[in-house]
């Protein structure tokens, strides 16, 4: 079956196509070359003047796993304001800060997204993370296994095991948990918190293991490189939210020693200590470092004003942040000698100096980092804001006068402390297509996604160009997933399941001998039961597994 999208204006940065009239042909779920003239086209969509991009990809969104489910259970009042009724096609649920899995899938698709990646899958909780992702329809999914504070790894590092053994362990984790990448959160800090350490700088040692966050970062970044994992080590650094952490972040970039590294929600790690309130923007220094170091990519973790909930593996920093909980309830957990988590509801206020400056710092970062291939659009959903605010964020980036209007409405001192008003840059549609499609696909190693060339999977979003970019990106005219029309005029017209993306890096299975001993002695589940079978992911009609190649 052939489908043709005709007369559309195409933005496909992978192929350097910047707003050109092109026809797109789809056959059996994939984009294909123009067929010969005798081939029958089964369906033609006239996209006259409409904007066509690949389906959007969110590479950092907390959509599944224990901490998200704690946030759901904890916040009935937040759901009440955004209840979602069932329809002929779709199931009921609820939205806003910690949406139900089904609603999250529907809303991502209705916004033109076709793939979402959970960045903090605790190995001990990976079965549940996969079950939640399987219950998130419409979009492709995948997750990064979160290690670096797990005792097995810290024991290896403390006993100076060689890098090959560490890489074998990382390879084993990716396979066992069906992950697509590796994330480290407050490296070693989650473990340190269990030993009652309350902060951990880059070169400070975990008091039990005697290893520093820098040691952990280097070992994991090497493992990721050696295993050929396409996505660089995904780093949630030390000292999240701490004024002055800009220095830690700059030092973390240096600690990468030229290896590829992705620093996530960098906005929360770009704070200086200048000014009367000892809180200032470090965005310029961070942007300069990112611009100079082509091995570094970032996502922003933009803050937008309103009620949300912060859900993070960083139990140490979440505990420290609980004093600011709004409403005043919060959860911190230590988990299985593996990891931890913290869930703290939060309300970002535009008239609050710190919150307003956080907002400005995020935007400064977006606008001062030159290369849109190395900066991705995120709010660290739901930590900076719910993902449903992406269209608003896109407007802030594309529309300087709108941005300046917003700037004039926030806390005056924060506005004065920010350089935002002096930045003229506006993102183009081409830039947006890079940072929300082409770049995340490339970063994750998804070769046939994020572009519209022949051979790509036909995940396609079609918009009507509008001056108000928030309106434009809120409600695509058409969304195709694997070549099927799933959204029309911003509403679901067909429910699909989406696939789960994983990797199968090669490693020496000999590592299982020491893992077996470790599990038998210290863990409360068996090694065999820790591993996730393919069947567990695909059963219940929940899509398929796509194994992405390693580099």
């Amino acid at each position: 079956m052939y489908i043709k999208l005709t007369n559309g204006v195409v933005y496909d940065p992978v192929h350097g196509i910047n707003g050109e009239y092109r026809d797109i042909y789809i056959r059996d779920g994939n984009i294909t070359r123009k067929p010969s003239s005798n081939v029958k086209i089964d369906k033609v969509y006239d996209m006259k003047g409409k904007i066509i991009m690949a389906g959007a990809i969110d590479l950092h969104t907390h959509i599944g796993g224990g901490k998200v489910n704690i946030a759901r259970m904890m916040l009935p009042e937040d759901h009440k304001a955004d209840l979602v009724s069932k329809t002929e096609l779709t199931r009921s649920g609820c939205g806003h800060a910690a949406p139900s899995t089904l609603t999250a899938g529907y809303r991502y698709a209705e916004m033109g997204y076709t793939a979402c990646f959970e960045p903090a899958m605790l190995p001990a909780n990976s079965r549940q993370a996969h079950m939640e992702m399987a219950d998130t329809p419409m979009v492709d999914k995948g997750a990064y296994a979160m290690i670096g504070s797990d005792d097995f790894f810290l024991r290896m590092l403390a006993s100076k095991k060689d890098q090959a053994a560490i890489s074998d362990y990382v390879g084993w984790i990716i396979n066992a948990t069906q992950a697509l990448g590796i994330k480290v959160v407050n490296p070693g800090g989650i473990s340190a918190f269990k030993f009652n350490q309350r902060k951990l700088d880059l070169d400070e040692e975990n008091k039990y293991y005697g290893v520093s966050p820098r040691d952990i970062l280097v070992a994991l970044a090497r493992a990721v490189t050696e295993l050929g994992i396409p996505h660089p080590l995904h780093v949630h650094g030390c000292n999240l939210g701490v004024p002055g952490n800009v220095e830690t972040t700059l030092e973390t970039i240096r600690a990468a020693e030229g290896m590829r590294m992705h620093i996530t929600h960098i906005q929360f790690h770009s704070y200086g200590t200048e000014g009367d309130k000892k809180f200032s923007s470090g965005a310029a220094e961070i942007a300069e470092a990112v611009n100079k170091n082509p091995n570094i990519s970032i996502d922003v973790g933009q803050v937008l004003f309103g009620q949300t909930v912060t859900a993070s593996g960083d139990s140490m920093r979440q505990y420290a942040g609980h004093w600011h909980a709004h409403p005043k309830k919060w959860v911190v957990m230590d988990i299985e000698c593996d990891a931890g988590c913290g869930v703290v509801p939060f309300k970002y206020r535009d008239k609050n100096f710190v919150n307003a400056l956080q907002w400005a710092i995020g935007l400064e970062l977006f606008l001062l980092v030159d290369d849109p291939w190395r900066i991705f659009l995120t709010t660290d959903h739901p930590n900076g804001a719910p993902f449903t605010s992406y269209p608003h964020l896109i407007r802030l980036l594309m529309d300087r006068s709108f941005r300046n209007d917003m700037l004039s409405s926030i806390n005056k001192e924060a506005a004065a402390a920010s350089t935002l008003s002096s930045i003229d840059r506006e993102y183009s549609l081409y830039d947006i297509a890079i940072m929300t499609r082409a770049a995340p696909a490339r970063s994750l190693g998804l070769k046939n996604r994020g572009h519209l060339g022949s051979g790509a999977v036909a995940d396609i979003t079609v918009y009507t160009e509008k001056k108000d970019k928030e309106k434009m990106f809120s409600k695509p005219d058409y969304v195709f997933k694997d070549g099927e029309l799933i959204v029309r005029n911003g509403k679901i017209v067909k429910v699909v399941q989406g696939a789960t993306h994983t990797l199968r890096p090669e490693f020496d299975m000999g590592i299982e001998k020491s893992l077996k001993r470790y599990f038998d002695k210290y863990q409360t589940m068996s090694l065999g039961n820790f591993k996730i079978d393919d069947d567990e992911i695909v059963e219940h009609g929940n899509g398929k597994i796509i194994v992405q190649p390693c580099m």
Partner: protein, 425 residues
């Protein structure tokens, strides 16, 4: 199945036992001619449940044997006619609950679990002020002070063997370094005697008084003085000693079982535990741990939360999920006649107290279920983890475990029966 078979005998290792919330997954099960024997690591409950022979049973409509197909048709008829069904019991695995959720959305049903009263005691605390919690492997390797509050954990029989008295722990914590304390009424403190004979501290009080004792400990930890000699019959001096122990613990844990704190507003007692833990965490490390989740309770609660946004108890009758932890209890909605049909599911236990209401009632139960009444439809169902594969969530609601099939059952699984119901509706 990692089986070593000879003729008709098969051995399966690493079998998860789904019959209580701590989900031991090290059982070794022998299947000989479809008869099971727990060869290693079975507690008495596991042995009883795995070794119970499959009785003869049949699907029934009003007590008369019928085919499964006819029974499912009858279920559909009842549910189609019903304005607001109650789907309760909910003793099933993840797959079963996924189907329950879909069916509830379709039929506008109210959902509750058979252990809902226990579940919501924790939920109410989570939703009010939150908590700091820990999981089994952390207790096993770190906890130097374990306070059992209102429970002796003996309903979770291998808890001591698996996490309290260890051959080895990762951080060189010896059994003699681990202090055990019991607070409550009629608690069996024997399992708390360590392998070297060291006895635990026991604070004997009424269950309803535990909150008072914990609050006093909280006050003492915070440096307050108490102008009394005794609290709930316990000498303040004893409390002071314990408060000192709590302050100097490196990793203390308060363990409770919400199902065993069965008195009005017991959630306030649980909240006392949690607030004391939070206070102690200002200067040392402390955490709570909840023992529960039997009959797939944690599974039902978790899946309900991720698919609807809310933990149990939820009503789908308005077309969207409406959560009310009190109003939508099985007891209330039956008493107040808010529902006009009942679907009761129990695939992990047969001696459950299925409610008898004067509304059309469907029971999907274990084949040996004995009911005090004849339901409109009875469907014998197989058990996840014995008769079919699946997943189930542990009491800490973090770890979930795969369930194995170790026997062939002639009875259909809850997920498959519900699937057919959904397809025919």
């Amino acid at each position: 199945m990692d089986k070593k078979s000879n003729a008709s005998t098969a051995i399966t290792k690493d079998v998860t036992c789904p019959f209580c919330g701590i989900l031991c997954d090290d059982l070794v099960i022998q299947n000989q001619n479809n008869k099971l024997k727990v060869i290693e690591n079975g507690c008495s409950k596991a042995i009883e449940m795995f070794q119970k022979e499959l009785p003869e049973s049949s699907a029934q409509i009003k007590g008369k044997n019928v085919s499964l197909d006819d029974a499912i048709d009858s279920v559909c008829k009842i549910l189609k006619k019903s304005h607001t069904p109650l789907i309760a019991g909910l003793g099933t695995d993840v797959s079963g609950i996924r189907n329950v959720m879909e069916l509830a959305d379709k039929t506008g049903a109210i959902l509750d679990h058979m252990h809902g009263n226990g579940l919501i005691r924790n939920t109410l605390v989570l939703q009010d002020l939150g908590w700091i919690m820990t999981t089994m492997a952390e207790i096993k390797n770190r906890a130097d002070l374990v306070i059992f509050a209102g429970t002796d954990a003996t309903n979770f029989s291998r808890f001591y063997e698996r996490v309290i008295w260890n051959k080895e722990s990762m951080f060189k914590l010896k059994n003699d370094d681990r202090q055990i304390v019991y607070i409550g009424a009629n608690l069996n403190s024997k399992p708390g005697i360590n392998p070297n004979g060291k006895r635990p501290t026991v604070l004997d009080c009424e269950t309803e008084e535990i909150g008072e004792i914990i609050s006093s400990l909280h006050a003492l930890v915070a440096g307050a003085t108490l102008d009394v000699n005794e609290v709930a019959g316990i000498k303040v001096k004893t409390l002071q000693t314990l408060a000192e122990q709590m302050k100097t613990a490196k990793y203390g844990v308060i363990v409770w079982a919400p199902g065993e704190l069965d008195f009005p507003h017991a959630e306030l007692t649980i909240q006392n535990f949690c607030e004391t833990v939070k206070y102690l965490t200002r200067f040392t490390r402390f955490a709570g741990f909840s023992l529960g989740g039997n009959d797939g309770g944690m599974t039902a609660n978790s899946v309900c939360a991720w698919q609807s946004g809310y933990p149990l108890r939820v009503n789908f009758n308005k077309g969207y999920p409406d959560y009310d932890a009190y109003r939508y209890s099985t007891h209330n909605v039956l008493k107040n006649k808010e529902v006009d049909s009942l679907l009761w599911i129990s695939s992990f236990s047969s001696n459950i107290n299925t409610p008898h209401a004067s509304i059309p009632t469907i029971v999907m139960g274990m084949p040996d279920t004995k009911l005090k009444f004849k339901p409109d439809v009875f469907i014998p169902v197989s058990t996840p983890g014995i008769d079919h594969t699946g997943q189930i969530i542990r009491t800490d609601s973090v770890v979930s475990l795969p369930l194995k099939k170790v026997r062939t059952s002639p009875y259909a699984s809850v997920p498959s029966v519900l699937n057919q119901v959904i397809e025919r509706m």
